[in-house]
């Protein structure tokens, strides 16, 4: 186990004019660790995720990332080209709506292969073999490799998006409501798949969700957000079983029992 974090976030704030997106967020993320950010719509969790993944620039604060060569880099001082390279090699971003993360009019195989080509793989046979392997890992039948994702169900699209993100062996994956909008049975399958992949690959992940069951299943650590602030943070089972902040108690007590 390494004794250095992968990501260091210090006093990160994002304002939209005078309105708070998120304010004064600090945490460390370690390799292989899954952090869930929970809260309801408008709590600032997606703003935070977008700042961390550099899709949005914060108003103040810093986020440093430990590159593969061990060098620490300030994410907001990198050049656009460096950031883009990081995003398509060492990072993944799984969108709630797979259409935002996939190219809907090229084949499933090409969707996976494209990320490989972006990191310099040029051998068609290798790319296709890797694509087949990854479709298998996300439980998509190899026979569908030449189909466009337009012809896939919602659950299959989401699994394809995950394969596209993981094929380059990223160390950090951002996920925005990865199971939102899916049927419950499809959700369970996807969650189980994600859980297995994250464990097997030793990925670090930051998962934004409003679903506490998703947080419980996927994450070891959790941050609860409200009105742009972190109101409670800690070990996931501690936060859920012994919630201390009034808002966390409200969230936990609002879960419907089945």
């Amino acid at each position: 186990m390494t004794d250095e974090p992968l990501l260091r976030v210090t006093a990160l704030s994002k304002y939209y004019g005078s309105r708070i997106g998120c304010e004064d967020i600090s945490f460390d993320l370690w390799p292989g660790e899954v952090l869930a950010i929970v809260g309801e719509s408008g709590s600032g969790k997606t703003t935070l995720l977008n700042c961390l993944s550099t899709r949005l620039l914060p108003t103040s604060g810093t986020a440093s990332y430990r590159m593969r060569d061990g060098q620490w880099r300030d994410l907001y001082r990198m050049s656009e080209a460096e950031r883009r390279f990081l995003m398509r090699t060492d990072w993944g971003f799984v969108h709630q709506n797979p259409a935002d993360g996939l190219r809907m009019t090229v084949s499933a195989g090409a969707n996976v292969g494209e990320r490989l080509m972006a990191v310099g793989d040029r051998h068609y046979g290798n790319i296709r073999a890797t694509a087949v392997d990854w479709l298998g890992r996300v439980e998509i039948d190899e026979a569908r490799i030449d189909d466009e994702p337009r012809a896939f169900s919602g659950g299959m699209r989401q699994r394809l998006q995950i394969a596209r993100n993981l094929v380059t062996g990223p160390r950090l994956v951002f996920m925005d409501e990865p199971t939102g909008g899916l049927d419950v049975s499809v959700q369970a399958r996807l969650l189980d798949l994600l859980r297995g992949l994250v464990t097997d690959l030793g990925l670090a992940a930051i998962v934004v969700t409003h679903d506490l069951a998703v947080a419980r299943l996927l994450s070891q650590r959790m941050m609860v957000m409200k009105d742009g602030h972190v109101v409670e943070a800690g070990l996931t089972d501690r936060v859920l079983d012994d919630p201390r902040a009034p808002y966390t108690q409200l969230l936990v007590s609002s879960i419907l029992q089945v």
Binding site: M1, L191, D242, Q249
Partner: protein
Amino acid sequence: MATPLIVSEVSKAFTMHLRGGIRLPVVANVSFSVRAGECAVLGGPSGAGKSSILKMVYGNYGVDQGQIIVDHHGQLVDLATANPRTVLSVRRDTIGYVSQFLRTVPRVSALGVVAEPLVARGTERSEAHARASELLGRLNLPERLWSLPPATFSGGEQQRVNIARGFITDHPVLLLDEPTASLDATNREVVIGLIEEKKLKGVALLGIFHDADVREAVADRIIDVTTFAAGKVAA
């Protein structure tokens, strides 16, 4: 003799913010220690705070005051104030826990559930599965169930999966929350045997047993939780 777990002047209350901020004291001034090779049993009626104490030791409940000192890789760690990463590391290598109920994960087989703590510590999957099979066999779980996810198992079957999962590792501290509650006499005997083996290996065990026969068979010492009562007792 080594003392891998020391609980010192621990207090815990729940503040119910949704109920006008009522404060429910659970326990106060909890102090005891567990030595290597002994099984200490938390005694007292329901609601005395036995489970809460166990959950605080596992880091599942927060601690308001006091210290929970555990010997983790030869270093003393205070679980009451440890950061999440330290607690996870302690859970992986030092403190095991057999909870009352199994939290099932969709699509993971009984064998996979039992082997997981070993795999997480770096044991080869095939070896971990062999150890898991051996334990499930000892606990008389029918072999046809091993490859199935435990979600549909009976209470007793789930509990045996849970016990096997807790006993498979060689954690130096093992917490047991009523591990025999829904077992028949035969399997209770198996669990008593497993606990004896842990003691011989020098594991410090801390448990809750409502079943008087099991308690008498395994307990070296009863810790009376009612002496830690904090006024009104929480539900």
